[in-house]
Structure formats: structure tokens, C-alpha cells
């Protein structure tokens, strides 16, 4: 969108309901945001449906088994210093991901202030926290597999537990891993001054949207899979 076009759009544009009808009936462009941002939102909308299908099928499977579902408090407990603490690894993973969302939000803020150094540092911190998360998830998988959890059976309860667990956390972990790589690439480009000439740092916000989505999905997984 050119400077002039965006100025015309932001000049006397109605807000609220009338703004919505104004936007949707516009003859050239419906959404007054950069193309990349709108497209990332549309991608995230589609990904919402993908994860919702997985979580809905998990609900269906769990509520139709006759065998009791494994108790997440017990399955995901870790023994530290002789005490069995329920869900402690998951709590740490949640903490790590919320932290990474915070550093990402700060990175976007600094990017729009054109503070490249801070932006790169914060994006690197976000990516590092994300990598820690994936490492912990891998540890969790290893522990459960060693304890005999398989997609088709497990020693803790209903046979479908493994399939739903590995599918849902696997897809989520894949998204986190892709996000870490994506953030590293964008951070490197910001650091090299790729966006300095145009002054347009919306790429950082777009990467941020993806990262917050990954955290958002974890909020739902944490609630429905581990706490329910």
C-alpha cells in the first residue's frame, strides 16, 4: 500500500460498524493493513481450524472410551528430590512460552521504534525460549515412550491416549520449531539492516503474530489435555 493510498484510507475513515461495511465494500482493498499482516492472519485462522479439529477429535475419543482416561497429574508428574510433583514440567513449559510471547511483544515494539539492536536481541531470546520448549517436549516424549506409551496402547489407561497426545503435542511442537527457524531468519535480516532503507518493520510484527498463535494453541492444549 503506498503512502498516499494509506493516507487517503486513514483520512476520513469511519469507525465501528460503519467502518466495517466501508472496508468490506471498498473497491480496491478490503483490509487497511499491510498485505503480509492480513495474509498471516488468514493463515492463522486456517491453522486454528486444524488444531480445533485435533482437539475436538481428542474430546470425542476421550468421552467415548469405556476405559478410564490416564490421569494427567500422575502421567506427567516428575520426581524431584524424592517428591512426585504433578505437572511440574508442563508448568515450566507454559512459563517458558509465556515468557517468549512477552519478549516477542517487546521485540515488535522496539522494531517499530527502529531500535535494531534491541529487536534482534529480543527476537533471539524468543527463539531461544522456543527451542527450550521444544527440548522439554522432546524430553517429555522420551520419558513417556520409555514408560510404554504408544499410539495404540499405554500402561496408564485408555488405549487412545497415546495417539491423541503424540498427534496434538507433535503438531504443536512442529509449529514451535518452524517458528524458531522463522524468527531466527527474520532476526538475522533485521540485524543485517535489510529493512532499514524502507523503514518498514512490519515483518517483525507479522512474525510476532505467528509466535503468539503458537503460544495461544499451547494455552488451549494446556487446559484441555493436561488440566481437564
Amino acid at each position: 500500500m503506498t503512502e498516499i493510498e494509506s493516507q487517503r484510507i486513514h483520512a476520513a475513515v469511519p469507525e465501528g460498524w460503519r467502518g466495517a461495511t466501508h472496508d468490506w465494500s471498498a473497491d480496491k482493498q478490503a483490509y487497511a493493513v499491510p498485505w503480509g499482516k492480513a495474509m498471516m492472519w488468514f493463515f492463522l485462522l486456517s491453522d486454528t481450524f486444524v488444531f480445533s479439529c485435533f482437539l475436538t477429535s481428542y474430546m470425542t475419543v476421550r468421552s467415548s472410551t469405556l476405559t478410564a482416561w490416564p490421569n494427567p497429574s500422575e502421567v506427567f508428574a516428575l520426581t524431584i528430590a524424592g517428591h512426585s510433583i504433578p505437572l511440574v514440567l508442563i508448568a515450566i513449559m507454559t512459563f517458558v512460552l509465556i515468557s517468549s510471547s512477552g519478549t516477542m511483544a517487546l521485540a515488535v515494539n522496539y522494531a517499530y521504534r527502529r531500535d535494531r539492536r534491541r529487536t534482534v536481541q529480543l527476537m533471539a531470546a524468543t527463539a531461544l525460549l522456543g527451542a527450550c520448549f521444544v527440548g522439554m517436549q522432546a524430553f517429555e516424549w522420551t520419558k513417556l515412550i520409555l514408560e510404554g506409551v504408544r499410539p495404540w496402547s499405554n500402561p496408564f489407561g485408555a488405549a487412545q491416549f497415546g495417539a491423541t497426545f503424540f498427534m496434538i503435542t507433535g503438531f504443536h511442537g512442529l509449529h514451535v520449531s518452524a517458528g524458531v527457524i522463522y524468527l531466527a531468519i527474520v532476526a538475522a535480516k533485521v540485524g543485517r539492516g535489510r529493512y532499514e532503507q524502507s523503514g518498514d518493520y512490519s515483518i517483525v510484527e507479522i512474525a510476532g503474530l505467528y509466535w503468539h498463535f503458537v503460544d495461544l494453541v499451547w494455552v488451549f492444549i494446556f487446559a484441555f489435555f493436561y488440566l481437564w
Binding site: M1, Q7, W41, M59, V61, G102, G199, H212, W228
Partner: protein
């Protein structure tokens, strides 16, 4: 030296850092509360309602503030937030389906009691 003006669409993006820091802190608090629901071993309806409430609050804050939705135009907000409501229909249908499956598994796949006539599936 800022040789080029930032594009006009940037003007709505910057908010004081404090907003993000406050929401970040709130997210930590809500996460801790969610964890405590399990730590204190709350059960049944109290557990499920608290888990859902904390989940929705966290999700709402992340979408509205971190993902910047509350400052976006209504057209974009509606485009993104209304379609997922269809999922409630899917969830309702699948819940009813799984209930049906459960009932039939109970009826046909569990051993009948001694003083009951055996049920033959048709």
C-alpha cells in the same frame, strides 16, 4: 538519521511498553492460577469451569493485546474471530456423537449381568 518517514500504517502500532509488561504479568498470574487448580486437586464442575475461565482469559489477552487485535479495524476483527464460532457447532455435534458411541459400547461390548437376558446386536 531517519531518511524515510515510516509508512502511515505504522502509526497505530506503537503503544507504551507498559501495556505489554502489565499484560505479560497478568498472563503469568493466570498461568499460575491454572496450575494451582491441578495442584490443589480440585475436581468436577469447579475444576472444569476454572480451567475454562483461566484459559479464555489468557487466550483473550494474547489475542487482544499481544496480537494487537483490540486496535485493529472491525472488519479484520470480524473476519478472524467470527468463523471460529462455527467450531462450537462441530464441538456440539461431536460431543453428542461420542455420547452415542459410549452408550452403545456400554450396551453391546460389556459382559451382561448374570440375571439379564443377553442382548444380541442386530
Amino acid at each position: 538519521m531517519h531518511a524515510i518517514q515510516p509508512a502511515a500504517h505504522d502509526s497505530g502500532q506503537q503503544h507504551p511498553l507498559g501495556v505489554y509488561l502489565k499484560i505479560w504479568l497478568l498472563l503469568f498470574v493466570l498461568s499460575a492460577c491454572s496450575y494451582l487448580v491441578d495442584y490443589f486437586q480440585l475436581q468436577s464442575y469447579l475444576r472444569w469451569s476454572l480451567v475454562l475461565i483461566f484459559m479464555l482469559l489468557k487466550a483473550g489477552l494474547i489475542i487482544a493485546v499481544f496480537m494487537h487485535m483490540r486496535w485493529e479495524r472491525l472488519a479484520l476483527i470480524y473476519t478472524i474471530l467470527i468463523p471460529p464460532l462455527c467450531l462450537l457447532v462441530l464441538i456440539g455435534i461431536m460431543f453428542s456423537e461420542s455420547d452415542y458411541t459410549h452408550m452403545h459400547r456400554q450396551q453391546y461390548f460389556t459382559a451382561p449381568l448374570h440375571n439379564e437376558a443377553p442382548v444380541h446386536p442386530r
